[in-house]
Symmetry: C2
Subunit: 354 residues, 2 copies
């Protein structure tokens, strides 16, 4: 099969020792890469959302540390490690709520400690290998979600998605969009409806762009039009990604997701969450334990617009995520397979010990 | 009680023989009136949405004809009437889908024909009286919807609304917002959540403005946040207006309305449609008979924005309205009272004859 994308969202150029990142803030109007050589440049790219999506941020962070630690090649291990802790702490601040950022930093730290007896050039080489491994693992995860997800879908189906959980958010086909692209490789001819996803418009700017690029039959709608599309019989499945899954299956994802789940239930359409099993939070019993970030009013009243579109001083409620109750989820599609209800992701005693 | 508004959306200035219209395209940033003296100016104001909302358009059209026919004061009745037909036809083209426009023209025509034996100055005077009567009837209709609606609400309740069916759309408190303003007069202290209403943002631009102006506790949300607000227990009733009601109670209103009805049912919250009984279409058996207007893709991809927010050539589905199934509607609030299910608005034989 030929992959539906001929570009990488995050690419490490070994020869020139630089990270090439597709600048997502310029999409959909401009497709251009920025070349990043220093840790500071990469921190800026993460903080300003030039690169976004949990897996893509993790991969970027891993390569950022490879580049960021290069200047310290002449130091002793202790001095090198001390600098690593500083560099890692700076990087983690680029987007404090991105779990994959600190997760990638943790993996690089373990790599350094595992190689503490080696010379610094060898440690740097081990870090580079680890960063490549993180990216490779992500590719396999995406690929497997695509294959497992596709087993639930039929050629010609209409599929509704929300926000962006695709190629731009990861190293391969992403999560929610991976079954769609896998089907595209195999001639499934899906018709995809992409919610624009207010207020940040990730659906209009990013999902519509990447689906169109991949040649998928794509229709953009406003979030409040999903019900009509379902009612007309144009949608046979809803696929979304997610940010966190509680042990009982309650799921946090981009604001608007739980509306889609309620609508899908109303119209008798299956609603699937696509996510790596690492998204399950063993410390989180139910959705009630998940704190929802509230973001600035300006995202709704001003951002993107030529002029302010709401009265001055109007109160605004802008939750970034919502919780979809587990009873509304038909199944989870993970890299390990399809998980059907009843959901119980509570870690077993054995898992806890390991 | 003191009315919560100290301004009119459409005001006829008898002394200066001009129509003053609050320019809604400048809201919420600028509150300014435009003075219209000719038929052409008024047609332009209607076509460019400077005045909008079914009742407000009807009132504007009636006064437009008074001003538009003034130059023909010296003619015979037959010549006057011929000119009226021309002027009326031009006016009807300003917004061809606005039912109230042709309805108001029809009422003015009947007034002319009823007075055919009178001198032209007297006919012009009768037309002015009829226009004032149309506005007065609209005020009473709004007021009664407010009173009947308020009987269903309790002080301190949270109320969710969609699009704009308020003071700006009518001559008094509007329809969906009338119970809220009537409660505001009486110290009910409602907390109102206004959907921004993509793609044209009537909620953000108009409803948030007029609620804030009236001193109502108002919070602006994106359409996809209504579910969270309901889930949190912040909303005890949903009130919207409507564009057309079928005989079985199926209701056409701004896109996004039927999602709110499904969410309200899911959370066990009453969902009310507020509308004058003239909105019931006796020729329309069910919602399936209502044709939904699809509007231009640019409303979603470009309008309001500093730059295009979706890829070039992306397919877009942009239905302006949706149909709420009658089974999801708790009750209709009309100027005649509250109508509970089962809904049967089929005209009786007597009605048909009259």
């Amino acid at each position: 099969m030929t992959p539906v994308f001929d570009f990488d969202t995050v690419h490490f150029d070994e020869k020139k020792e630089r990270l090439l990142i597709l600048d997502q803030t310029r999409l959909p109007g401009k497709v251009c890469y920025i070349s990043l050589k220093t840790q500071d440049q990469i921190i800026d790219a993460i903080a300003t959302l030039k690169v976004r999506g949990a897996p893509a941020i993790g991969i970027t962070a891993a390569f950022a540390l490879c580049l960021g630690m290069k200047p310290f090649i002449g130091l002793s291990f202790d001095a090198f490690y001390t600098h690593f802790k500083e560099v890692g702490a700076q990087l983690a601040q680029a987007r404090p709520t991105a779990v994959n950022l600190s997760w990638a930093i943790g993996r690089m730290e373990k790599t350094i400690l595992r190689n503490r007896k080696a010379a610094i050039p060898e440690i740097l080489e081990a870090m580079r290998s680890e960063a490549c491994r993180i990216k490779e693992e992500d590719k396999i995860m995406c690929r497997n979600i695509g294959i497992h997800g596709l087993s639930l879908l039929k050629p010609g189906w209409g599929i509704l998605t929300h926000c962006n959980a695709g190629h731009l958010a990861a190293s391969w086909y992403g999560t929610a969009l991976s079954p769609i692209y896998t089907g595209q490789e195999m001639g499934y001819h899906f018709r995809v409806f992409a919610d624009e996803t207010r207020p940040l418009l990730q659906g209009a700017r990013l999902t519509a762009f990447e689906l169109q690029y991949a040649g998928v039959d794509t229709t953009l709608i406003c979030d409040n039009m999903a019900s009509v599309v379902m009612e007309k019989g144009l949608v046979q499945a809803v696929l979304t990604g997610c940010d966190r899954v509680a042990c009982n299956g309650d799921t946090a994802n981009k604001i608007g997701t739980n509306t889609l789940a309620i609508l899908a239930r109303h119209y008798g359409i299956p609603f699937y969450i696509c996510a790596p099993s690492s998204t399950i939070d063993a410390d989180c019993k139910t959705g009630q334990n998940i704190v929802i970030e509230e973001r600035s009013p300006e995202e709704i009243t001003e951002k993107w617009y030529r002029k302010r579109m709401a009265p001055e001083n109007i109160k605004v409620f802008n939750p970034a995520f919502d919780i979809t109750h587990h009873s509304l989820i038909t199944a989870f599609i993970t890299e390990k397979g399809v998980v059907c209800p009843p959901f119980d992701f509570t870690p077993k005693e054995n898992d806890k010990k390991s």
